[in-house]
Amino acid sequence: MTQIATPSPRVRRLLPETATYITLSIAAFVSVFPFLWMLISSTNTSIDIIKGKTSFGAAFSTNVVNFFTQVDVPLVFWNSAKVSILTTLLTIAVSSLAGYGFEMFRSKMRDRLYALVLLTLMVPFAALMIPLFMMMGRAGLINTHIGILLPTIASAFIIFYFRQSTKAFPTELRDAAKVDGLKEWQIFLYIYVPVMRSTFAAAFVIIFMTSWNNYLWPLIVLQSNETKTITLVVSSLASAYYPDFGVVMIGTILATLPTLLVFFIMQRQFVAGMLGSVK
């Protein structure tokens, strides 16, 4: 006690250090708690969840069985996987080509178009959804997965990301390949793609997560149970008049699992992809 009254240099150092660990521990706890809550609640009945029960219960199997009877799980998962993987692959294809093209073949006209592409970054989705919905209606694409896919492939942000990353692509490789008689598409496919694989990996993570978690546009376009994705299913289960939160928890676990896996397997690419925008 006397030590605190006249702090020794050691205590003066330890005090802020302790405060740091306490602050970080609280922040970490708050950040992780909802995930723990999700796991704990998946084993409890809806009433227990609403009443804030923080210990594991015995209702896990009941919740799982109820979830699987209320939801056609394989179909919903297949819908989500199909939409996300196709969106990711197509967005990567279109955006990497564009990023390479804008950077390697500069001209005044193309630079201007690139500026226009960047300008679309600031277009809020709310201002697009009405015309897009009307377009999809005319094209007969309401309630189809193609209707979801098409407008999300054009991403100014991913094009920007690829172009920024292409600046680091060694031009000597391209020159050497040209001397060897490779055509541009061959250089792109056989040299650019393998050399830039970490850029591609980061783009994959970002687009997949965005697409898997996408909500507003699918909510508008997908109207039947046969086409709905996992996000929509979780949302509609939770917005029932008397939601069964035990069942909802199984849904949130299933909805979160793929992105959690991608994050833990590809954490480095994930962070790299996010920071790509400030470099």
């Binding site: 950040s31 564009a98 979780v234």
Partner: protein, 298 residues
């Protein structure tokens, strides 16, 4: 490089240049540029469903006299004016703590605080809804530590519903912003901090006079992207309030109002498009500020 001037090479160069960017340009033209002009065009029309008729500036008059729109505008503004600064300060503090020398478990803390970014907006909104029920885990914890005497009606009282939305967004995005600051801090020479420490500058002063000025560009960038994100807030309020933006429109946002105008009742495409242009204007102003700030920097 005399060859570059000959027509053949230039054409080769041009053909390839266009081929590479053509798919992206086509998609952006159809799904971004056309709709944004179509929206503008629609905002001069009124009527239900596909029965549209020209209304001139009628929608703007309607906007000025629409109490729900006003509420949505005030709510949206309230959310970003209050939430973004809180989150940015929190993220800055956490980032500078994580950046300290010889910090143990730094990797664990970083991953844990970043984890909310992995949750889908729908999933975490639903989780928050269950945690913040009247008899729920949050009210019980707050009562147990004596912060409140009575349970708070997080989902039933207008004021607390707004607080809940702010808490939820802050939980989801603080770690995201923190990662940007951490990346920027790691580029700063540690010896500056060491020198300040030896000179007896206390930790809070190092934070205010060293960290914040050096991170100014990143802070500005994240503030603007966070604000733009919050202006478009939809998923959270929709899922916390069963799509109503309640109680009594207390949490309705502009995006939610547009959705309701278009898809909940008989669609008013024209008027909804007008409301959407309010968002366009707000985002445009912010983007302009960012562009201006970025140019000043370089």
């Amino acid at each position: 490089m005399a060859l570059a001037k000959t027509g053949g090479l230039k054409r080769y160069y041009d053909v390839n240049g266009w081929l590479f960017i053509a798919p992206a340009l086509t998609l952006i033209g159809i799904f971004l540029i056309y709709p944004i002009f179509r929206s503008l065009f629609l905002s001069f029309y009124s009527g239900k469903g596909m029965m549209l008729k020209f209304a001139g500036f009628g929608n703007i008059t309607r906007l000025a006299n629409d109490p729900v729109f006003l509420k949505a505008l005030i709510n949206t503004t309230t959310f970003f004016v209050i939430q973004v600064p809180i989150m940015i300060v929190l993220a800055l503090i956490l980032a500078s703590l994580l950046n300290m020398d010889r910090l143990k478990f730094a990797g664990f803390f970083r991953t844990a605080i970043f984890l909310p970014c992995v949750a889908s907006l729908v999933a975490y909104s639903v989780l928050f809804k269950s945690m913040f029920s009247v008899d729920g885990v949050i009210n019980q914890a707050l009562m147990a530590i004596g912060l409140i005497g009575m349970p708070i009606g997080w989902l039933t009282e207008p004021f607390w519903a707004k607080v809940l939305v702010i808490l939820a967004i802050t939980w989801r995005w603080t770690g995201y912003n923190m990662i940007f600051y951490l990346a920027a801090l790691q580029n700063i020479d540690k010896s500056i901090y060491e020198a300040a420490r030896i000179d007896g500058v206390p930790a809070w002063a190092r934070f205010v006079h060293l960290t914040i000025p050096m991170l100014k560009p990143v802070i500005l960038f994240t503030t603007i992207i966070s604000t733009i994100g919050t202006i478009q807030l939809f998923d959270e309020v929709y899922n916390l309030t069963e799509g109503k933006g309640g109680p009594a429109d207390a949490t309705i946002t502009l995006s939610l109002y547009i959705y309701n105008l278009t898809f909940r009742f008989m669609p008013s495409f024209g008027y909804a498009a007008t409301v959407s242009y309010v968002i366009v204007l707000m985002v445009a102003v912010l983007s302009f500020l960012q562009f201006y700030a970025a140019r000043e920097r370089s």
